[in-house]
Symmetry: C2
Subunit: 284 residues, 2 copies
């Protein structure tokens, strides 16, 4: 596949698919963008928001495009990808999901495996649906391309070209490494945020005024708690083992703080905070 | 005390005190702003950044001003406030600390208790020192005025005028209620962030590439982990009991997620996330 403008099918015209469509258009990468969505309301919104040129059913869209983008929850990617690959000739299929190991395993022996490239752009917001699509998304963010030795050379080259044009920082790794890393730098943040929201909402039942004081710091740590359960439940399901490892470590770290408080060990508490400050090396 | 322009002493010319000084000047509330800081480097920075008109020692500053603002760590507020009140005649003293119960208890019987107003502006960033001062801080944020029946009427009226002019949303409550609420909507967010940073930094020891993928979501949940240990250790110390309550609840909420993962109870996991989504009512 060369680097000419493409006809692109975007399966799932929500936050990720809609933002991807907007960027492809603004970067001049798309000739025509066809949306596919099983939710009729989302289909209508995607058209009225001009995210896509037209909506079509999946089989019709696949037959008319060069590139098929999967921007649907990760359980749907797994159930739909094999049948899409059955329909594919020379087209390239790219998913934008947050987990890769199970997906990689599922299509490992598919005769058209080479036409697929597994991709995880490290961008998102806590909102969902076509109206959540953001112009200028993905730029200067990281993107992980997984198991590239399983994909055909022309498909890999096009994927690198595409995400380069979207001005993303490209990393390559195996699906298992990806899922481990994603658990630490994305999935646990969401889990922590969900649990923090539930912690405070629980208190609100007996104390309605609890949120009047909510500060910017609080907002920052709980904003991810607004994220879509239909998207996140399958991520937690597929990446269960890695997330459990991180979650156990996180609970252990919280218990260190708990023990400092209980034992009034302020010196060690100060040390724990100083250690946490090292995150400055990473996040500026 | 009337609402004329004031000579103001800002004790602690860091993130909070420096930002407060900038806002008082830009709102035309200050005639002269005198800085007090025990750290000579901060004193120098505050002058060169024009946060204050001059630096002075505490006793000299108190004798020359109408209003004394305490913007230092909460343990220092407790150790310094009684001696400041000893020096005070008609001046008003206001602290901007994050905990109130112990402070309130400490000065309860001081003959000049009425000249003091306990205030907590719900604003801050993860940075510290004079160079962290931000113009436009505090605006549209909440501010809590505590135990107002312990303060003289003119001092209360001036405090309400001052924070109204700074365009803050004023709430009134008792010191104990304040500390409970602050534990839920501010202190636990910091604790969670510190622990999350330590969780990932621990993993980084064996896997240096862990942060290459760090996403905006991750940044959002750990940015507070950069906060100053000298400021936060005394907050945790003074609000120990409330913070332990919230922390125990938070660990319990995390364990609900853990149990869902272990038992593969995806339906309940979905419910937990749906429940967390209710935070949308609060944070838009």
């Amino acid at each position: 596949m060369n680097n000419d403008k493409k006809n692109i099918a975007v399966v799932g015209v929500g936050l990720i698919g809609g933002s991807f469509a907007l960027q492809c258009r603004s970067k001049g990468l798309a000739d025509k963008i066809i949306g596919v969505d099983f939710n009729p309301m989302h289909a209508e919104q995607a058209l009225s928001l001009n995210l896509v040129d037209e909506m079509m059913d999946l089989a019709a869209a696949v037959s008319q495009v060069d590139l098929i983008i999967l921007a649907i929850p990760v359980d749907n990617i797994i159930s739909i990808l094999p049948s899409i690959l059955n329909l594919v000739e020379k087209q390239v299929v790219i998913d934008l999901g947050s987990t890769k190991s199970l997906l990689s395993e599922t299509i490992k022996n598919h005769p058209k495996r080479g036409r697929f490239v597994a991709v995880h752009p490290m961008w998102g917001t806590e909102y969902s649906g076509p109206s959540a699509a953001v112009a200028g998304a993905f730029e200067e963010k990281s993107v992980i391309l997984c198991d590239l030795d399983e994909s055909d050379e022309d498909a890999v080259n096009y994927a690198k070209y595409l995400f380069g044009e979207l001005r993303m920082r490209i990393f390559e790794m195996g699906a298992q490494d990806h899922d481990l890393h994603a658990a630490y730098v994305s999935h646990i943040s969401h889990l922590s945020s969900f649990a923090l929201a539930n912690t405070v909402l629980e208190k609100e039942k007996e104390d309605h005024a609890i949120f009047e004081m909510a500060s910017a710091g609080f907002e920052s740590t709980v904003r991810l708690a607004k994220s879509n359960p239909d998207m996140w439940t399958p991520i937690f399901k597929q990446n269960k083992d890695n997330i459990l490892d991180v979650l156990n470590e996180h609970i252990m770290q919280l218990k260190k703080f708990k023990s400092c408080l209980e034992k009034e060990n302020w010196e060690y508490l100060h040390e724990l905070i100083e250690n946490a400050n090292q995150i400055r090396r990473i996040i500026h």
